[in-house]
Amino acid sequence: MRTLTKRVFNTSRATAETTAETDQSQEAAMSEPLLALRIESESTGTGEAFGRLEGDEPVARDTVTPRPARENSRHAQAHESAIKHVTGRARYIDDLPAPHGALHAMVGLSDVAHGRITRLDLGAVMEMPGVIDVITAQHIPGHRDIGPVFPGDPMLADEEVSYVGQPLFAIAATSYLEARRAVKAAVVEIAPLPPRFDPVAAADAGEFVRPTHVQMSGDWQQALEHAPHVLEAEQFVGGQEHFYLEGQACLVVPGEDEGVTVYTSNQHPSETQKLVAEVLDIPFHAVTVENRRMGGGFGGKETQAAPWACMAALLARRTGRAIRLRLPRAEDTRATGKRHPFHNRYRLGFDDEGVILGGDMTLIGDCGHSPDLSEAVVDRAMFHADNAYSLGAARVTGHRARTHMASNTAFRGFGGPQGMMIVEQAMDDIARHVGEDPLTVRKRNLYRIGRDTTHYGQHVDQYPLMVEIIERLERSSDYWQRRDEIRAFNRQSAVIKRGLALTPVKFGISFTAKHLNQAGALLHVYTDGSVMINHGGTEMGQGLHTKVCQVVARELGIDFESVRISATRTDKVPNTSPTAASSGADLNGMAARDAATQIRQRLLDFAAEHYQFDREGLHLENGKLVSDIGAVTPAVSWGELIQAAYLGRVSLSATGFYSTPLIHYDRDSGQGRPFYYFAYGASVSEVRVDTLSGEYRVERVDILHDVGDSLNPAIDLGQVEGGFIQGMGWLTSEELKWNDDGRLLTDGPATYKIPTFGDLPPIFNVELLEGHPNSQASLYRSKAVGEPPFMLGISVWSALRDALSSLTGYRVSPPLDTPATPERVLMAAEALRAGPANVGASR
């Protein structure tokens, strides 16, 4: 029996436990001979499955052989800032003491979705009490367009406005209240132009922010022609507001040269450094960007934290004073982009068993007014239109529709969840059509031998894991027994209907923009033996800094407490990638490991010579120098070794670097291996629906999730639980509403409902799959955990459809757009009661 790291939570037993760790790698080898063999054969076969392409660097060598689990890395180490968090001493941007004379900035936003600015009179603003400076696009010395990847995002609107909430001007005043008041004195006249809010109409009209992309595998038309059954349907998948609890905020301090130091709540300091420098027309080295932690990011601070830093930086340079900028919640919500809403369609052919033979899928992402990250977001939706299933001979088309909305952006999953939704709808629909349980059809469609390559040409490594996860979860959640009970219950109950669904997740790990898959680290050992590590990743609550400190402690054989991270700073580690795509630990942990490995080698080389020890077998463990061959006498502690190394003039500082091997993708052919590996998981949700009111409750959730060999089970469990809850919120209660003028109405927690304690399933069993190390040479064979669990929430939506379907004796698969609010559930129920002719779509 493998041990599972699990947290069981329910009202009756109310226990929360984390089982003791065991030596997983050995146990894995014993209990999983097939998998272990598979790993071996791959490592010796192609020669490229592990490590870097060259294959001979220390990082690569070390990862081929799993190290014994003696290191403290496997401990469920608490968050490195935990004590600061619980005492209120952890400082976020707005908690930082500002320098003397700091000013408060505020931003004037457009009230019109689309139009031409005919008058922008800020004379009255300048006369308002406390106002020191006012800027418009005309005052920008450098780049006016701060589009992060492609142009299209003016820092301040110049002639045309493209959405309600678009920044028009910014001011600096001596107090926050004065700044807020002064903004309202602006005289703004905008001649309206016809706005476009419907992405489908935009796509029909060819209004795109980026060109359409197509992926194809085999002859999809022939597959459709010859398929015994063909179904088609469409769905609307709603967006999502990030609602990071710490809003967009920065503090910019002008420096003694032409530059600035920017403290910002930000997932991408290097990009903000670049954009600030370009706006100010100064070299990058004149701008330093620092982030210690964020009060939540979720993708909302990947590109969209930069504009505020740019505005504050310009005001700081002009006034010579520090600038604080903190957006009020409602303005933050209106001015920044969200998760892309999607309109998806499928037309799929399948056999009598419900196995997909091929077909066509179209995904239309609502990108808002500019490209931002939408090229990659829609790509990732396309890469996940298969989720865990082989699509056979399929074509997947992704459109990037331009609408007059805030530019939609990264959000945990980055399009992946929206792409998965269409195939999960198809699974339910096909199951109803062939008269099988949806789980049966899902299992039949999973990647397997002979059907193990995606529609974009990537071989699905470790696909047997998906089968194992589902089968174990079937058993642990009593799926079939509960299925029988629920069917019996629903036959008796006219109004209250229960629903059950198991949905899998297969999520590709790597930035699909290849160049972003790199990371750097900077490691210093000071002469008292304390260690400072800096890396390119940012901390937003996901525990990245904790994991990186664990890595360094493990490599150097010292306590976790001996290792510290100061902050993420562009002057410590340059040219970094955003902390995104779940890759924070994969990339930065590897870079930190590289740096620590160099230091370790230096120290051991030095020790062998200095103390006359045999170099072979020498290593660092538990704060001491030890040897596998013979005793180290006299004993040498870490501190003594460092002292001696310093006196011996050994460099105690190193930079580390990592780039993900093997990945490639050719956009022209739509084929490649964009992902280093896949992370897997599955969830079972049970719901209870009042079909006369549409109200429902999630009664029980069971999750089994794959994180490879966990770097930190406590943190990973938190990511899985939190990801599920956020995904559930996206599909159920979090509804974005705009009025006919394109103004967001749900701009605060009173109207935008994110899950709260009461939405927690009363029974919530979450386990990490153990004993299955990553088949690729990732950081200690771990897997990324930031985004994949988000999509576990899809089982709640599918369970709602299941409950609704019971109204028709499970013959009809009801369309259910998201978020599946009680209102939408009620409308779906009424349509079903009115008869199949009124159900539309999937018949």
Binding site: A14, A82, L245, E721, G758, L760
Partner: protein
């Protein structure tokens, strides 16, 4: 942090202890307007001496809007002059450097600003500073005893009841109150009575477990 000397002289008026009752808000306000320098009327962080000659007093902040209050904050009596419209949250964060309570939504809907006033939990962003005159105010900074953590703080660490940490001070203040109110008898009750505090990271499981553990230890003495 708590002593008078550390506050900028122009954002915190000297303590005036004699003769003013807590009920004479308007009278005190009028008096203050004539007595104290300009900066007092703008009790925000950046209102240190104006560096720009252009700066004029904000008309809306002049006479009649300043009150003197004397709450006990984390056990220390403070006498403060504040704009009558200042929220307790802004008083704590902008004047007293007690930044543990966070401004999440500023509309009393997220719970990140939760503190205790006379033993009851309140959303400090919706509580006027003027209303805590004479009251006991307890913030996250005041619940631990020196270096020793409050049991609820330790329980949050032990149960991984946090991720980004931004909601955590508010969650802990709400959790302590939740138990003191007698609303922590089981997980379902805890979920109901903690529902005013949002955690966007979704660390709810751990928080409920932490509250349950402390509630149990309180029950069992």
């Amino acid at each position: 942090m708590m002593d008078h000397e550390s506050n900028p002289p122009d954002t915190e008026a000297p303590c005036q202890s004699s003769g003013v009752t807590r009920r004479t808000v308007m009278k005190v306000g009028a008096m203050s307007a004539t007595m104290v320098p300009l900066g007092v009327m703008v009790p925000w962080k950046a209102s240190a001496q104006p560096l720009d000659d252009k700066r004029q007093p904000a008309p809306g902040l002049a006479a009649g809007n300043v009150v003197e209050i004397s709450p006990r904050i984390n056990g220390t009596r403070r006498t403060l002059r504040v704009d009558a419209r200042t929220s307790l949250l802004d008083l704590l964060r902008e004047r007293l450097d007690l930044v543990g309570a966070k401004k999440g939504c500023d509309h009393g809907q997220c719970g990140a600003c939760t503190v205790h006033v006379n033993g009851r939990r309140v959303a400090s962003c919706l509580t006027l500073a003027a209303k805590v005159d004479g009251a006991e105010v307890l913030t996250i900074e005041g619940i631990s005893d020196g270096q020793a953590l409050h049991p609820m703080q330790q329980a949050f660490i032990d149960h991984d009841a946090l991720q980004c940490g931004y909601c955590t001070p508010g969650q802990i203040m709400a959790a302590i109150a939740c138990i003191e109110e007698g609303h922590a008898s089981n997980a379902a009750t805890i979920r109901e009575y903690m529902s005013g505090n949002i955690c966007r990271c979704g660390a709810y499981n751990g928080i409920v477990a932490a509250v349950e553990q402390i509630a149990r230890s309180v029950r069992e003495g």
